[in-house]
Symmetry: C2
Subunit: 338 residues, 2 copies
């Protein structure tokens, strides 16, 4: 007990302090880190999400020109799970960095997520009216404001890292983060994936390989950018950054597969966005290609393969990453913590 | 003559080598630098534009996913004057830096110019069919491709500086450039200005102050970002960077005033874009507020005030900046070198 108490971070200390029914203690800190009795993902997430929301709020103060900042804040600060920015923090902590170092890249990735949602909902893209439980940005502010505020969030992502990370970490790391974010979001990453995705609509012959490519570009890139930038900010070495990159790609794809599953199995209210969209638009999606159960199994398999990449890390420090990966195949939409 | 021959850069050596009619030589290198007989802006521009075009071509190779890169290249490589990227190079050289150091930020600014044109022409913005003498991006590739390829150019601008400037200049300078570009393009710069501009359409009471704000945000920011990043890349000190910032703001505003003038006085063919647009959309513009001649005079005054900021610099090194500012109030659209 003494060993666990001194070697585990506070988030891994036993949650239930009652001694009425003594529980068997894990044999080691490693086992404790992987036990749900000794680590609460919900508590970890909730503390980090609060931190991220505060930083996002501060990153885009309401100032002139008023309307563009209102529109940016509307989408950026809408209630959301913030799994991806938390992943940046957890990756930073996994390599031994402090939480504060990961906040700038965590915010940057969340800004680009908001931008991708704003643009995805535009009439010339998916033409959607609801996002994160509220009217989509162009429904609330008009189309040209949605276009411009989305771009402003993209631009701010890079600026934010350059301005806010620079005093905390060496300039070389900031430059690596900017380059990484650019590769993740750009024409060979998220934006290229959005275009391939859009053009695949209504195509009858989209196979698993193409779908995997689209999902990796569109979604897994966010997970990857977050984990890699978090690790860079925290001072991770090449091997650590490489492992977390693989971990995040798999977790990201697992998340997206579950997104497809939830699109089929949930109501719009549960999702906070229009449900059944993929089916309605005859869009290729995992449940269509491998059935709902097959897709669930694939998501679980991806999560297990992600966890394998964590073997190198100090188990207590990597505990949040372990539990995050494991929680994704079990997620149930809006209410779940992943 | 010997003094001039050894102290002037090649671009300042006399253009006409004929000795048939000996001309009076300027009394000093400073005078030579400001003499049009001893400096050809056209030759300087043409050499730099070639260098910039080559770098832009290499920056966006045609690769999968094919369509987004085709669309990016279509707008980025369309024939253009490239005044702004050349300004980045000239500013770098004015502080004593080599041309090569300014190429990455020069390309970055040109990428964002292309992005702003693509998005400006979209149906939800100005809904324009022609740009730089060819069908606008969404007319050629469709609306969603135009949206995404514009964003990809914006993202690439930051990535390009991080990847290409980093081996040439210290990381601290790269971080400063990324922050500067973000401020110039973002919600308080170009993108915010585009929104205020769009919202001012049809408003009867747009005054000179508001118009100046719109033009400074929308256009002068590009000049400012280019000059400042060029100076940072070249290793300029705070005083030099500050002077070039002021110089560029004035040159940028002068350029935009002349743009308004040309919109009224030229044909679409001369401009390479739809002429008379501002009048047709009842958009506030300088000729409307101060008359064509008044606007021309204002542009000339701004250029003179820009030139005042160059007093600090070595005249031969600052010669391109001097001549560039002077050429702007005389520009005549597509064919002119400014």
């Amino acid at each position: 007990m003494a060993y666990i108490a001194t070697s585990l971070p506070p988030s891994l200390l036993p949650l239930k302090t009652s001694l009425a029914r003594p529980r068997r203690l894990p044999a080691s800190a490693a086992a404790a880190a992987r036990s749900e009795e000794y680590f609460s993902l919900r508590e970890y997430m909730s503390a980090k999400v609060e931190r991220v929301n505060k930083a996002l709020d501060e990153a885009v103060p309401l100032r002139p020109p008023q309307k563009i900042h209102e529109a940016m804040r509307y989408s950026l600060l809408a209630p959301a799970k913030r799994v991806i920015p938390v992943l940046a923090i957890a990756s930073c902590e996994a390599v031994g960095g402090e939480e504060a170092l990961a906040i700038p890249p965590a915010c940057a990735v969340e800004m680009v997520i908001a931008m991708s949602f704003i643009h995805d909902d535009l009439p010339c893209m998916d033409d959607d009216d609801v996002r994160r439980g509220q009217p989509s940005n162009h429904r609330a502010f008009g189309e040209h404001t949605a276009l411009l505020s989305g771009c402003a969030l993209l631009s701010l992502a890079f600026q934010h890292v350059a301005e806010r990370a620079a005093p905390l970490v060496p300039a070389e790391r900031v430059v690596r983060m900017v380059a990484e974010l650019g590769r993740a979001f750009g024409s060979e990453g998220m934006l290229g994936g959005q275009l391939v995705d859009k053009e695949s609509e209504g195509k009858a012959d989209v196979g698993l390989e193409e779908l995997k490519y689209i999902h990796e570009c569109k979604s897994a890139t966010f997970f990857e950018a977050a984990a890699v930038c978090g690790a860079i900010a925290g001072g991770g070495g090449e091997e650590e950054v490489g492992r977390l990159r693989k971990y995040a790609r798999r977790v990201g794809l697992s998340y997206q597969v579950m997104d497809d599953v939830l699109d089929v199995t949930s109501t719009s209210e549960e999702l906070g966005k229009t449900a059944g969209k993929d089916v309605a638009s005859d869009k290729a999606a995992y449940p269509k290609l491998m059935g709902v159960e097959g897709a669930r199994e694939f998501a679980a398999e991806l999560a297990e393969r992600a966890v394998e990449e964590l073997a190198l890390f100090d188990p207590p420090k990597a505990a949040p990453l372990y539990h995050l990966a494991r929680a994704i195949p079990c997620r149930k939409g809006k209410g779940s913590c992943a």
